[in-house]
């Protein structure tokens, strides 16, 4: 059955024809191409690489970057709708698109030279190059400014050394945006971004095995051992922890939308199931307990939709702040986790099978709760914004 979305407050009326057309196109693409394979991919722990050309052709990579670089040139609400629809399918697929667009193409566009932009952006947009974002380290997750990966300047360029962890696309990427300190290890102002082709000697990616979440996604450790780069590998306009954090703000914005997609998928599945499943001679949808569950889910989804559309319009008006994004990411991912859990419970025993989607979303969303700023970190970001005190 094709997915029809959830729109209790008729927010579609506030979308332009293009925004709806893009949303509907990605929705149909997910139904046609992703849904038939995602269960199997999840069980096997494999990212569906065969879908990359289709996603590229659709134009989802860096969709909100300018047309002159081979991108779709869409507004931020449209970008959000794309992430929503991808994550309705699976958080791992949306993660792939988030990384490619917000964490690889965005920094090249924001901090790169014209030559770098002209070379890399079209190739990343059409999926010929696949990127990953090397910021997080084994000992530096919530506190990326403490990183110990170094980039030492030499006569002909740079030498990078270090380890990054929990890197989406780390093993299958052809290019990595690596953040490293060019100065002393306690000097976070010396953090700069580097474009590292992964075929460069000294770069290796290793799949992190044993994941119980985001199984249809490549999550890897990457090692940089005396990786020699030319001078022009540096992103010239990057500098300080602000640079990678601004990339994260882009990604977190997309994730706020994505979480709504996951929640809608679980809610939709729960409603259909409740109406069909007959117990004690009547559909479980006619019982009070399940109705309360569904009412809660619909309420949370609707609230998140209203909040996030407003956020998207703020971004399109150039008025977005990172703290506004924190509020949305924190709220939406949390509510999506709860929707997935409640949907899973409503589905009963069937809810533990991969042919139903809620438990897969439930497991995935635990990662989404933790990455791109944990839920708790976003609480503190908001706390600092509200009170002026940094409590990290």
């Amino acid at each position: 059955m094709p997915f029809e979305g959830v729109d209790f407050y008729q927010l579609d009326r506030q979308l332009s024809e293009e925004e709806r057309a893009v949303r509907d196109t990605v929705r149909a693409w997910v139904d046609d191409h992703l849904m038939p394979v995602i269960g199997e991919c999840y069980i096997e722990g494999k990212f569906p690489r065969q879908l990359i050309p289709g996603l590229a052709e659709l134009g989802v990579f860096g969709a909100n970057l300018p047309e002159e670089y081979g991108c779709a040139g869409l507004n931020n609400v449209t970008y959000g709708l794309i992430m929503q629809e991808l994550e309705r399918g699976d958080s791992g697929i949306r993660s792939f698109a988030s990384v490619q667009g917000a964490l690889v193409m965005y920094p090249i566009h924001a901090f790169g030279s014209e030559a770098q932009k002209k070379h890399w952006l079209p190739r990343l947009a059409n999926g010929k190059e696949i990127g990953c974002f090397g910021l997080t380290e084994p000992d530096f997750g919530s506190n990326p400014a403490g990183m110990i990966t170094t980039a030492k300047e030499t006569a002909d360029g740079w030498v990078l050394n270090g380890t990054k962890m929990w890197i989406t696309n780390g093993s299958q990427a052809t290019v990595a945006i690596v953040w490293a300190k060019t100065g002393a290890v306690d000097d976070s102002k010396s953090i700069r971004g580097f474009i590292v082709p992964t075929a460069t000697k000294g770069y290796s990616g290793r799949d992190q095995k044993g994941k119980l979440s985001l199984r249809a996604s490549d999550t890897s450790e990457i090692h940089l051992e005396d990786v020699k780069l030319p001078k022009d590998a540096i992103l010239p306009k990057s500098g300080g922890i602000k640079s990678p954090l601004s990339c994260l703000t882009q990604a977190r914005y997309g994730i706020a939308w994505g979480a709504i997609g996951a929640a809608m998928a679980c809610y939709d599945e729960a409603v259909r199931y409740a109406k069909d499943r007959v117990m004690f001679g009547r559909p479980i949808a006619s019982t009070q307990i399940q109705q309360v569950r569904l009412a809660e889910m619909l309420t949370e989804i609707t609230k998140a939709q209203c909040l996030t559309l407003t956020l998207g319009r703020l971004k399109d008006d150039g008025k977005l702040t990172p703290q506004q994004v924190s509020l949305a990411k924190r709220n939406n991912v949390n509510m999506a986790c709860e929707c997935a859990r409640e949907a899973r419970r409503l589905l009963g025993a069937n809810g533990i099978l991969v042919e139903y989607h809620s438990m897969r979303h439930l497991a995935n969303l635990e990662s989404v709760y933790t990455y791109e700023g944990t839920h708790d970190m976003h609480s503190l970001i908001l706390g600092e914004e509200i009170t002026g005190f940094a409590a990290y």
Partner: protein
């Protein structure tokens, strides 16, 4: 080639289906519309022909009320070059009335091919394409399931109730396209943005007289189904008895 594709805006009735209070139309509340399925195949055929055979133009034409512009823009976002909206308050049910408007628009424009879907998913009549061709006095092949155009001549296959007919024809010609001929492409996001800049002209539809009208529409009689005769192979004799004596089909 200069190819015209005539498309129709039809409702998606998968989820929502209710008869309106007037007793002869669909309840419009919550209805979503799209390009009629078979018309989507026709559009795909046109786009592929022009991709494979060098530069050409694909023009989409649709008669209907205001909402028709949205499906024309969708066709533009899928890859058509130009769109023509023949406006009218409501699209008549009578294929002859619609064919009059389409043939008036298409006449004299020197299209090499004019494509239609085999039938619209709402009426299921399969008449407008053939009628338009007859009014234009152009050769027409209907229900095309396979097509090849070479040097101004065409060869088509038609699936007819278990047999395949191979048909030859010259250009210009009108074809109605069956499904399965090619997988229709989705619009790309760039295509959606590019569609905004492509020409979409609107003019009034020169409809013909409507002599076939819908006077009522109702749901089919409720089948009282769900009778379980029994379980397992032991239920077979009872089923056969019922089929013979009650249903009288054996």
């Amino acid at each position: 080639m200069k190819i015209a594709v005539c498309i129709k805006r039809t409702p998606d009735t998968e989820s929502r289906f209710a008869i309106a209070a007037d007793g002869k139309s669909l309840d419009a509340a919550g209805l979503k519309y799209d390009i009629s399925d078979f018309d989507g195949y026709a559009l795909e055929v046109a786009l592929r022909l022009n991709e494979q055979q060098g530069p050409g133009e694909t023009v989409v034409v649709s008669a209907g009320p205001e909402g028709t512009q949205e499906i024309l823009r969708k066709a533009l976002s899928i890859g058509a070059d130009r769109a023509i909206h023949l406006g009218c308050d409501t699209l008549p049910y009578d294929g002859m009335a619609v064919a009059a408007a389409l043939s008036a628009e298409l006449r004299g424009q020197e299209y090499d091919l004019i494509l239609f879907g085999r039938n619209a998913t709402d009426s299921g009549n399969a008449t407008v394409g053939l009628m338009t061709a007859a009014l234009l006095d152009l050769p027409c092949v209907s229900a095309v399931s396979w097509l090849e155009i070479k040097e101004g001549r065409g060869t088509a296959h038609r699936e007819l109730e278990g047999v395949t007919e191979t048909v030859g024809f010259g250009l210009p010609a009108v074809l109605t396209i069956d499904e399965g001929i090619a997988r229709p492409r989705l619009p790309s996001l760039k295509g959606i943005m590019a569609a905004k800049k492509k020409p979409l002209e609107t003019r009034p539809a020169a409809l013909g007289e409507a002599r076939l009208t819908v006077v009522a529409m109702e749901l089919p009689p409720e089948r009282t189904g769900g009778r379980i005769v029994g379980e397992g192979p032991d239920a077979v004799p009872e089923l056969v008895r019922l089929l013979r004596e009650e249903a009288k089909v054996l």
